[in-house]
Symmetry: D2
Subunit: 351 residues, 4 copies
């Protein structure tokens, strides 16, 4: 295969770096440009922790230079803030390239939700209908060949993969869901803020944006789709900040419908994820841990039942399955490549 | 004041060490013995990180030697495993001393729960009626002068202090409670097990004993008492293991009764904890973090309301307010001392 | 005792916070003001992790307000950058108060060293002769009653306490010294820089300023004084950044003079530190660790000899014995108080 | 290429697991057996964090079963303790297979050093002459085709790669070397000991085996060979334990011979490592950090000169370039494969 040309916008953030690394080692992708105003003309190799031979001597472009190259790309991955992506994605599409957007700009179907959850009025609300939500394990057929893929949020991926099988199989009450999740610090992006300094975050653990995180409506929308209900599900979502660099663990609580047994829960997960390359099912909620998945594109899911309560834990690397890895998975589907191309070599590191 | 004699059983565990340190600096307590078969005849100072002058040259006793001294003590603090405490506490009381037991042996009112949750048949079930549950902020008057105080579990303290005000004020549905909590590693005690080695736990985060932790019935019992209902409340409790040494953060989810407003929630906490020396109320669930309380006997509690959902976080040091500090608080009440004696100097370390 | 009035400049940095906390609990000190332009009019309690009753309701002053109060203070502690201290200290003295300066502004005797090591020409070089270097274990008599005390650097304290006894007793070659040290991140101060973010520093370890750290001449000057030689000793000093918040461990290498035995080394440390309240001698270089001293004003020192090589390790808390604690120790000496006043309650936390 | 059969003894330790993972992804190696009495008949996949398809369904063998398969292997990698390797290696060679031994059993040329440094009399001292020390960057030609390769120790690799260029080019005094190094906890192997528990090691940093670590003679032997001197060099070596899982940073101090300039130092490193695939040269001692190399087979080396002092830092992953990765590098050379086969995909993870 001759390969296709891929561009990366926002290449200097943590997701952008991870995308760059994955694409540099991808069997079919050829990096057309990596744009970041921060590192213009610096070699990719030094910044992205890559060997020079893996990058073909490529240097970082400015954002403007990147934009000028959209039309020479087969696809562009956008690792830019939502407000920037909202402006850039239409230009990518207009240039004839496909877009995989890692921000939240095209994830929500309801344009009215953007001022509330993202702090800006969506400039191209009509495109939300065109956008495909790129969670392949739930919406694979829509992603295949799609022109615009909205790559899911890291928490949203963890929560949706944990709960969707239960809702799809109608095993739980859809209106009594709790998602309690914890993320490593890279989830907040690159920060020169005192509150993200080592001295402030080490040895600490705390909740943030309890009941008001912007991923809550995204999770609700996905679970609504999984349940086949028109209206999104009500749920309580509280994220926490772990004193770790990478990894998300979501602990999700639901109430089983009357008469549902543990065996039905186990079957639901086996059915949903048995054939999946990037989701593994653990024996119980206790058998899921960050270390098993960090550095890989895997999501590990496990459920424990007691009486009418079910607890489901899911773990993933927020920068891989929660961002860059899933973006490559979506790129593969959008361009008709093997879904796991460029992702197979990643494996969890033990210890 | 002349001081009273206090003995410590199980002095070499993490709780035992913390109790030893607190009592060595206590204005009224005089250490009669610290017993641990592990360190017999070694000076306290070296093991407990104390200066020799603070310990009066005391050396560790064997457990047998400690037992022989029960009758010369005003009170004995037991930092022994539940099954050992179940045997020792009656001997302490028979010797005429008061007992503060840090294990779970005398926490549950229902003797039948012990085989299920603690793995042994309670040898002295009749004493469960005598035992007072030592959560001073809820049951202070019962603890005053008590002969046998069951010191609460670390998770149970965090969860009960978080949720009791809502149940007491009848602001939430009592049958739809979720407690999701995370603890530092010292909560598991001193361990020579590979699974508790640094190489296995660092960089990791996971749930354990989801829906089957022995603190769940303890929490339910306390919240039942707080709610004034006969039967304990059903709740879902999942603890997690943080890659930290100390600290517990509990994130609790409840559903407000129809018509309850955020202001009522705020009032409930202000009323409950305004006068309390060892519980502080934060502005919201997001304003609570481990670092604010580790090294102190404080519990910090904060609530956030959205629609009918309320999330309450609580943080404490599992070895202080979750164990040794609360034990000293209970000792103070049992012996008629000022409740905060020996605990005031502790203050959170920043940074 | 009625107490004396103490002011704190630069109160919002990590050292300033630690000074504030120590003084708030000091038996003789009365906080006259805590100045930080950052937190003007905010209560001390919230920022410094203190209970309101411990601070008498004091709020932060502006730097200007602080300066206006110099003349109403018995002493001022300066936790300001060296260049700021160089300007403020003369004003403190002119106002009739004593000064304990935690910066490097008055540590070096040679004004010509400031442009090289601190990046500014010293505005008041003549005062370097007035200044007393506040390492009480080496220069106690000079510190007693001193008007201006230059509080030593954190690395310099660790290195000097480790090596001085060997040089004083003429046991080692003075011109072949290596100091390899590692510090927790708070040593760098409060930083809103990306390179000090959690995501960048966690899981990492590296040297910085190898052979060119500004504490090298300070260490050399102190060791020269200890050795009784006119010229400072040549030494190689490399600091490292540990992924921890607090603590310094210095590992120092020297060559024994011919014929010197291990017993002489042991005697030198016993003689030097036997009577010292804040320096403890461990059995060997291996018996010294950060956890034993973090949170205290202790320095722990241990030596191991093999052939003609001696390795000495020393550990201290960079914010206590390496900054704020030692500043209070110096304040106590300067004002004629008991040297350990306000420092005795601090004890290492185990675990 | 058809591949050759490789066996692994001691497969359940941290080095054994890493060897297993590398060989499972190796283009030419075919895993014949992985032996560990601990996990007999368990699938490799689960324990080694590998996907089942990567292991061909292989299960762990007992040590006896492994031994019985030596004769069907082209090479055996031994991840066993030194005393066990000393017995097994002769059997491997007798069976006609090549041996790469990761223990210290065949590293020292002087059999008399074993009782002192390894605590046992070497049962096959005559084989120490046959053994080739597998540091390819220094002794590549000897390793090519070798029957028995002694894989270097992790600290020894870091120290030798840091200092050998200076000694080889005769730029430094050979008798005044200090190696101060720090390692992550996995360097100590899998431990069920309390002193290696998370609660004991977290937040701590300390030296151990100062001046008496068993890698000191190994380093001296290698540097002696590099310097072309008959006798090993005297050196002071102190390792430290970092609160991290992986990574070694060595900080090495030497004294330049009179007249040697910084440019000569830079040239020595450029000459020595310019062509090397697995050693990179950084701009200075400050530019070397663990995070750049952990997870890879790279060693990063940087030097800083001031006057006659030179400080050289080197960083590597103790389980990769310090153990399993270097073992595969040696295996490749011994079997005539491309030296980097199976190692190229490893790349440092950023962040």
């Amino acid at each position: 295969m001759q390969g296709k040309f891929i561009g990366v916008m926002g290449a200097s953030g943590y997701s952008g770096l991870e995308v760059t690394r994955l694409l540099a080692a991808h069997p079919h992708a050829r990096l057309r440009f990596c744009a970041s105003d921060r590192w213009v003309n610096e070699p990719l190799a030094g910044r992205a922790g890559l060997r020079a031979e893996a990058t073909g001597g490529l240097v970082y472009s400015s954002a403007d230079e990147g934009e000028a190259l959209f039309s020479s790309c087969d696809a562009v991955l956008l690792c830019t803030p939502a407000e920037v992506s909202a402006e850039l994605v239409p230009k990518v599409l207009a240039a004839g390239a496909k877009a995989v957007d890692l921000s939240g700009a095209f994830r929500l179907q309801d344009a009215g939700a953007y001022p509330v959850h993202y702090g800006f009025a969506h400039p191209r609300g009509e495109m939300l209908k065109v956008s495909v939500y790129g969670l392949p394990e739930l919406f694979r057929e829509k992603v295949r060949g799609a022109r615009l893929v909205a790559n899911p949020g890291c928490y949203a991926t963890a929560a949706a993969l944990a709960l969707a099988p239960l809702l799809k199989a109608r095993l739980v009450e859809p209106d009594d869901l709790v998602v309690d999740a914890a993320s490593g610090v890279t989830g907040a992006g690159r920060k020169a803020a005192e509150e993200y300094s080592f001295a402030e975050l080490a040895d600490d653990f705390r909740a943030y944006k309890a009941l008001r995180h912007q991923h809550a409506p995204e999770i609700a929308q996905t679970l609504g789709a999984a349940a086949g209900t028109a209206s999104p599900r009500e749920l309580a979502f509280t994220p926490h900040l772990l004193p770790l660099r990478r990894g998300i663990l979501a602990t999700c609580y639901a109430r089983l419908r009357p008469g549902v047994l543990a065996a039905a829960v186990a079957s639901a997960y086996a059915d949903a994820y048995g054939p999946e390359r990037f989701v593994d099912v653990a024996a119980s909620a206790d058998a899921v841990s960050l270390r098993q998945v960090v550095g890989t594109n895997q999501c590990l899911v496990g459920a424990t039942v007691s009486g009418r309560r079910v607890v489901v834990t899911s773990a993933l690397d927020n920068l891989v399955k929660g961002a860059a890895g899933q973006a490559v998975q979506n790129l593969n589907l959008a361009l008709g490549w093997d879904e796991s191309a460029g992702l197979g070599a990643l494996c969890g590191r033990y210890p």
